[in-house]
Structure formats: C-alpha cells, structure tokens
C-alpha cells in the first residue's frame, strides 16, 4: 500500500514485456475505471486511487497493452457482467447485454455513429441508486473510462467498419454491413 503505480508496474512487476507498450490499467479489478499514463505517479491506496477517478477495489491489476483492442477488452468485461447480472432490476438485466452487443457490433465493424452516444448514456443511467445494487455501476466503470480515454479507438472501428487491431488492411466498407444483424448466439447462452 502506498507505492506508486509506476513503481508497482516497472519495479515489482518488471515492466511491460518487450514489444508491448502501456496503455492503461484497471487498478482494482474488472469493475474499476482505467488509469492511464498520466496517473502513473499516484499512490496506490484507496484515497489516492479515488482521487484519480478510479477505485482500488480488490487490488487486482489488469493491464491493457497497445496491441490489444480496447473495444474487445471492454466487450469481454461487459460480457462477464451481463452474465453475472442477477436479473432482478431492469437497467442491469437489459442494459448490460445491450452494451455488450453494441461493443461486439463495434468490434465486428458493424458499429454506428449513434452507438457511442448510447453507450455513454448507459454509463449515466446505470449509475449508483438507479439500479438495485452496485453490479451495474461497477460494470459501467471500465466502459465509461474507456470511452473517455480511448474514444479514438472506438471511432476508428465505426469509421473504418473493422477492428484496426485485428484487421490490418482497411476494409472496403459494404453499405449493408452495418445493418445486417449477425447472430452470435453461440456466445450468449
């Protein structure tokens, strides 16, 4: 407790692996906000992390490197949270799968301009007090901070109709790709 982020990641953890750059970290597990470069010198205690706009939570550090798509990263988390929802209250039960499907559409190159606005509204609607428990607010933390810090990546996905991290050549966008629904029920049991 009390070491800086930089210390923890570079000294104790040995720094980023060769060839990978640092983009961000979830300091306290899946339901916390990203901390990025500019937060590297904050102290890792509850107050310090809170002051930087995140939570120390469980202290589980999840690092995002520059070869990993932030959209895919956050989609994975929202998939988890959507499954973990108990199903009691409407915003979480129906809202989390919707954010997950939006993120998947964006990742698959089928995102639309209005999707980012919808995702942002969800991070507001699924705030503390609006839902029955803190699962949904927690689920929104990585999404909210990803939209704040990695917005360019999201916009690129939508503009180029592809994931720039997985698909190196820009695709020739087919006019219909963004509106043909692709079922992916094999992922959502």
């Amino acid at each position: 407790m009390g070491v800086t982020m930089r210390e923890l990641l570079e000294e104790y953890a040995g720094g980023m692996k060769d060839g990978f750059g640092f983009r961000g970290v979830l300091p306290g597990g899946a339901s916390t906000d990203f901390l990025i470069d500019k937060h590297m010198d904050i102290q890792l205690d509850f107050a310090g992390v809170a002051a930087a706009g995140s939570r120390l939570g469980t202290g589980t550090m999840v690092v995002l490197d520059d070869q990993t798509c932030p959209v895919g990263f956050v989609h994975n988390l929202e998939h988890f949270f959507a499954q973990e929802s108990c199903g009691f209250c409407t915003p979480c039960r129906e809202g989390l799968p919707w954010t997950e499907k939006l993120l998947w559409a964006i990742e698959q190159g089928r995102g639309r301009e209005e999707d980012l606005e919808l995702l942002l509204r969800h991070t507001e609607w699924l705030g503390p007090g609006n839902t029955f428990c803190a699962l949904a607010p927690g689920a929104m933390e990585p999404l909210q901070s990803a939209l704040k810090y990695f917005r360019d990546d999201f916009e690129r996905h939508i503009r180029e109709h592809r994931c720039p991290y997985h698909d190196p050549e820009p695709a020739i966008p087919h006019p219909l790709t963004s509106i043909i629904p692709i079922t992916y029920d094999h992922l959502h049991r």
Binding site: A82, Q83, E84, S85, C86, G87, F88, C89, T90, P91, R93, E94, G95, L96, P97, W98, K101, A105, E114, L118, R121, W125, G129, N130, T131, F132, I179, P181, T183, D185
Partner: protein, 700 residues
C-alpha cells in the same frame, strides 16, 4: 403532512411511499413491480422520480418512488427531464426483449405494459439486436404461458408463493434469462392461480378459458356481478360478447375480496354457455315441436288454480326469485330447497349472528386478525378466499414483533418478509381431515366432529363461558384447550372460524361460545361462519318450511303441484325421498338453467336465466346483501326466474301478487305491506356493496 411535487404543495397521509402518495393524488407515475396488495420491492425501476434536498438543489437525485417513504416537506419532481428520460428508458430496456406481439397478444387492450409505455411516451425501439426467448409450459386448463413477453417484474411469484402460499411456481436462472414457471409443465396447484392473469402486467399469464372464445376487452360488455361459488360473495365483473359469457374478472371490493378471486369463482362460469342449458319451455315427456311460452304459462296457471301448489326455493337463487316464488305459492306453501342438515346449520348460523354479541368480520377484516382458531372447517374448500385471508392473518403477530426491533414500513415487502422469515402467528386448526392451511398452524388437532366440538366447548369453558365444564378430556386435549384459550385471550384481534364443513351443529355452537366468552372478557373477537351456498343466508332469512315436510304434504295429498326454483332436489335429500316426491306430485314445474336429475323427471321445464342473464341480490355469510346485474339479455324464452313466477301469477290471477310488478321485484323494492315479507330488523350489515355501471373496469 405536506410534500412538494414539482414545487406545488400537496397534503398526503404519513406512512405511504412516494408512489402510493402520487397515485392517491390521481397523478400518473408508471410502475410494474409494486402492487397495492403485494407492497414494494424496487425491482423494475420504473417509478423513478427526482428528490431534492431543498429549494436550492437544482440537480436532485433519482430515487424509486415505491421504496421511498414520504416525509414532511419532501420535495420531489415527476416532470424533471432526467427522471422522465430514465422512466422512458426503462420501457426502452423492457422493449429490447419484449416481442412485437401486441396485435396477437391476448393481453392487448387490457395490458399494463401498454399503458405504462404510453404513459412514458416511449414510441421507438432503438435496439437492433436479437431477443432472448424461452420455451413455454402447459400450466393446466386455466392459464396460458407465454414467457417471451415477460418483463421480470416478479409479481407472479410474489403473489403465488408469498401471498397465496403456492409451492409449484418459481423463478429460475439469472440475468436476462430469468424464468418464471414450474419445474416442468403441469397443472398449477394453487386454488388462486387465476389471479396470475390479473397480477401479471403483460401477456405471460393469460386466461386460457377466455382464449377458447377470445375477444378483446374493449369489445366486451361488462356488468358488476357476484360470484356464485360459495357463501363469501366475492365481487366480480362479468364480460360478454354477442350473448355469450366470455370472462370473469375481479371487481375490487375493499371489504370483501379486495384484488383477488379463487379459481372456482373465476373459472366456474362456463356452465352459462353449456349445451346442457335449458333454453326452451317444455312439457315432459317431450311434446313434439316447439312449445309456445304463453301456452305453457296457461297450462301452469291452470294447474295452480285447480290444485294446491307448493313452491321449493333455492339457496343458489337470488332473493328476488325466491321471494317471487314465495309470493306466488303463499307463505304456508313455500319450502326451503336446502337439505335439512344445511337448513339446520344455516338457521343456527343465523341465530348466532342475530343473537350473539360477537361481530362477523368482513373478509378483509378477517385477514387482519392476529390469532385464528379454525373449528371443523377445511376453508380451502368451503370458503377459499377466507383461507387466503387466514394466510395473511398469520403474518401479523410476527410482523408486529419484528417491527419492535426494526422500524420498517409495512409496504417494504421484501424487507418485512426477510425480517419475519418463516414465523407465523397463532393458528389452531381442529378438523377431521388434513387441510392445506395445516402447514401454517401452531397446533393441529385431528378427531371426530363431536370430539372437536367438545374441545371447542372446553376452550370456551377455559375462557369463562357460563357452560358446564367438559369432562373426559385427555391431558393432551386439556393442555391444547388451555393453549388455544391463552392465545386467543392474548390477541388484539382474535378470529374464530367455523361453519357447515363438518356437518356438526355443536361445532358452530362451540365457536360461538368461544367468541362470546372472549367478548365478555372485554376482547374484540371476530366470528366467521361459512355457509353452504351463495344465498343460503338470504333464503334462510326469507324463511320457509323444511324440505322433509314438503314430501309429507305431498304424501298426504294436501298438495299436488310443485314448483321448483333453480334446484336439483336429488342433491337435497336421499334419492328415495325425492322419488317419492315425484311419485305423489301430479306436476313438477322446474325453473332452472341446466338439465339435471330433477329436470329429467319434471313435467314442465321453464328456462331460467343464470347470474349473467338476470339481476339479483344474494346475501353472503356475513349478512351482506350484494347485487349482481344482468350482463346480457338471454336468448329465446330464457328469462329471470322471478319473471316466470310473476307471469304465472298474472295468468293465475294470484291475489297476493297483485300490484307486485316486475319492476318492483327487479329494483328490489319488497313492499313492507306485502304480508309474505318480514323485514328483519336485526339484520346486520344490510349493505349493497360494489360499484355499478363500470364500462370497462381495470383489472391490473
């Protein structure tokens, strides 16, 4: 206290939550999971409003109206754009999975989800992805199951399990795949399962019997009605279209049935549409061709003029019909169409109600009791809604105890039930056979009726009743008598229940003695007595001779013609006695709805209108007179029984009926001067209850 809604002050009663207060003020705030009988759980998040710290707070925070108690000077806003947007979005979320079924969904037109959607202004579905779907179950003959429409409000399981004590409907799985149903397809076991159709805000649970002759709610003509199934007299709304009865729905009565009905009352209406209906007047053995109504009336009138006629009434017919028959044949010749034992029980009940000091509670009041003794009754079968009331009654004492430690509003349903867990207040059931309420009882005693009655008298004696002590009790029985007496004495609102269920008069006498002893000790006891049929008490009050004397009269040749009103005599006495009745009677004229054993042997059949085709008044087990109204004009020659009686009287020029017009009967103005009507001055609670003239009542 004063609260401010959008900066305007309103006076509200303390203790309510914001949603209740707003609804009581007549304002619109959408909701799903809250229900006036089930309280609040805060699941759906639909009733979100903004509350503000003070006048200067311009942002406020969102709270759920159903979970927030009102307090003095509370400032809230319904019109706040953030709150409105959130409420609209809740509908938006529900619409992500809700199928586009409206056009083909049974619930359409009487759908709470439709109403709330319009209320929030949501019109466009922005969701473009797939919907989750479910497999449906066959839940039996009463309810249809269409889970895709579910909005997961949890009302079904909260009603079925928490309120009605059902075991076989549950919630399964999690996240957006939460499923409400049984472990596997199968008939729902609860006697109150039909209420799921009204409690469910969407078309997941719908009336399967309506489906077999479906029509939209707005195409039905409704009339206020009263259930004919038992002596409790729950209020219903009967809906018809094109001259056939389509649906029975609950009609709210804050003193009797409240929001719910039992399945017998809700689904027991199809006899009205049966092909076994008597639809034409007829002579038996059958004459060929159709019989002209005037011809039949002439024949019947001739028989009345030339012979001596007796009339047998019915505890399932209205007061008006029984009265008209009594007028027609004369007081000396009017017989109760009850079995002699039913008559004995009912007249004893009437005596107890008239002469005793203990009061008879309304059904809702019975549900407020905090200690209950059931003496010789299986309420689930004899008076189902009273069993449901007892289920609520046993919650009161543990709730009151829990509230000493934790201060919770009673509408905080989930929290209150959590605090109470499985505890029940004192309930003692003394009966010959197991009953469904046994699981709630503190003590159950099984024995022969006389044994149970003796135990009842012992309880009364312990309470100080001025009767001889009961001898020969086992130590176990004595101890139980002491325990029951102590529990009833300690209660604020003790309830004693008995009735005709065991066929033992002494049972009711013992129950009465217990209630009266409690009364003498300065308590405020309630005494509920069940009766066999919808108008048993009404018929008994009207008065008539015992059925066995009717057979004597015929046997001795003092009468030769019998008019039977809405009755199957073979259900009222041993078959050989009724055979004798038919043997000695020259003519038996039956006015009834359905072919039955009596109809097979009657010489004249006159088609009677059912409760849906006739106005009428029935008196329930409390002594509450309630009126039901004709829903549609019956086909052909079917008409109200009382109308048949008056038309016969007119043809036969019966003097006592002169001046007694059909209008007089139909508006219930029994003339005091009429020698055959004895207005009873000590009737308790002669109330006409229920609303009239509802065009299309709300059922959810």
């Amino acid at each position: 206290m004063t609260i401010y809604i959008d900066n305007k002050p309103y006076e509200v009663k303390p203790g309510a939550n914001i949603l209740e207060a707003v609804l009581q003020l007549g304002m619109n705030l959408p909701y799903f999971c809250w229900h006036p009988a089930l309280g609040s759980v805060g699941a759906c998040r639909q009733c979100a409003v903004k509350v503000f710290k003070d006048e200067d707070d311009k942002t406020g925070r969102l709270v759920m109206g159903c979970m927030e108690p009102v307090r003095d000077n509370l400032r809230l806003s319904l019109e706040d754009p953030g709150a409105k947007a959130f409420r609209e979005q809740v509908i938006g979320w529900l619409m992500t999975n809700h199928p586009h079924d409206c056009a083909v969904c049974d619930e359409g037109g009487s759908c709470h989800l439709q109403d709330m959607t319009v209320m929030t202004g949501h019109t466009y579905r922005h969701y473009r992805f797939t919907k989750r779907t479910y497999e449906n179950q066959n839940l039996g003959p009463f309810l249809n199951h269409e889970m895709n429409r579910c909005i997961q409000c949890y009302r079904c399981v909260r009603f079925y399990k928490d309120y009605a004590g059902g075991k076989d409907l549950n919630v399964f799985a999690a996240h957006n795949h939460v499923y409400f149903g049984r472990c596997e397809s199968g008939r729902l076991e609860s006697e109150f399962s039909g209420n799921l159709a009204e409690v469910c805000p969407t078309g997941v649970f719908t009336d399967k019997t309506l489906k077999s002759h479906y029509t939209r709610k707005w195409d039905m003509t409704w009339a206020p009605s009263v259930c004919q199934g038992c002596s409790l007299g729950c209020n219903t709304s009967a809906g018809e279209r094109y001259g056939s009865l389509r649906q029975i729905a609950n009609r709210y009565n804050g003193e009797v049935n409240g929001y719910f009905l039992c399945d017998r009352g809700r689904y027991g209406y199809e006899f009205v549409n049966s092909d076994q209906r008597i639809l034409q007047p007829a002579f038996r053995p059958h004459s060929n061709g159709t019989v002209n109504k005037d011809h039949v009336l002439d024949q019947v009138a001739a028989r009345l003029k030339n012979g001596r006629t007796i009339g047998i009434g019915s505890p399932r017919a209205s007061l008006e019909s029984n009265f008209a028959l009594k007028l027609l044949v004369g007081e000396d010749n009017f017989y109760l169409g009850m079995s002699d034992s039913d008559h004995d029980h009912t007249s004893l009940a009437l005596k107890i109600l008239r002469e005793g000091p203990a009061r008879t509670p309304s059904l809702q009041e019975a549900g407020q009791a905090d200690a209950v003794l059931i003496l010789g009754e299986d309420l689930t079968n004899t008076a189902p809604m009273l069993a449901l009331a007892v289920r609520q009654a046993v919650r009161h004492k543990p709730e009151a105890d829990a509230m000493q430690q934790i201060h919770l509003a009673e509408w905080q349903d989930a929290a209150v039930r959590e605090a109470v867990q499985e505890q029940h207040g004192p309930l003692f059931i003394l009966h010959t056979v197991p009953t469904k309420l046994d699981e709630l009882a503190e003590d159950i005693f099984r024995g022969a009726p006389e044994q149970l009655a003796r135990l009842g008298f012992a309880v009364a004696h312990v309470l100080g009743a001025d009767t001889d002590p009961v001898t020969g009790l086992t130590p176990e029985e004595s101890a139980l008598a002491e325990k029951i007496a102590a529990a009833l004495l300690a209660a604020e609102k003790p309830l004693v229940v008995s009735g005709y269920g065991s066929g033992c008069d002494h049972m009711m006498k013992a129950a009465a003695n217990i209630a009266w002893a409690l009364q003498h000790k300065g308590r405020n006891p309630m005494l509920s007595l069940t009766l066999p049929e919808v108008n048993s008490l009404g018929l008994e009050m009207l008065g008539g001779h015992r059925l066995d004397t009717a057979i004597d009269v015929l046997r001795q040749g003092e009468a030769d013609t019998v008019i039977v009103l809405e009755n199957d005599l073979y259900r009222r006495a041993d078959a050989h006695l009724i055979d004798e009745l038919f043997l000695h009677a020259q003519d038996v004229i039956l006015i009834d709805h359905l072919y039955n054993r009596t109809a097979e042997k009657a010489t004249v059949l006159l088609p009677a209108g059912t409760f849906a085709e006739a106005d009428g008044t029935v008196v329930n087990n409390e002594g509450r007179a309630q009126r039901y109204y004709q829903v549609y004009v019956p086909k052909g020659d079917v008409q109200e029984s009382w109308r048949w009686c008056l038309q016969i009287a007119e043809k036969a020029q019966v003097r006592s009926c002169m001046g007694c017009t059909t209008w007089t009967i139909s508006t219930g103005r029994f003339r005091p001067g009429c020698p055959h009507w004895h207005p009873c001055s000590s009737w308790r609670r002669m109330l006409t209850s229920g609303s009239t003239g509802n065009a299309s009542p709300r059922t959810s």
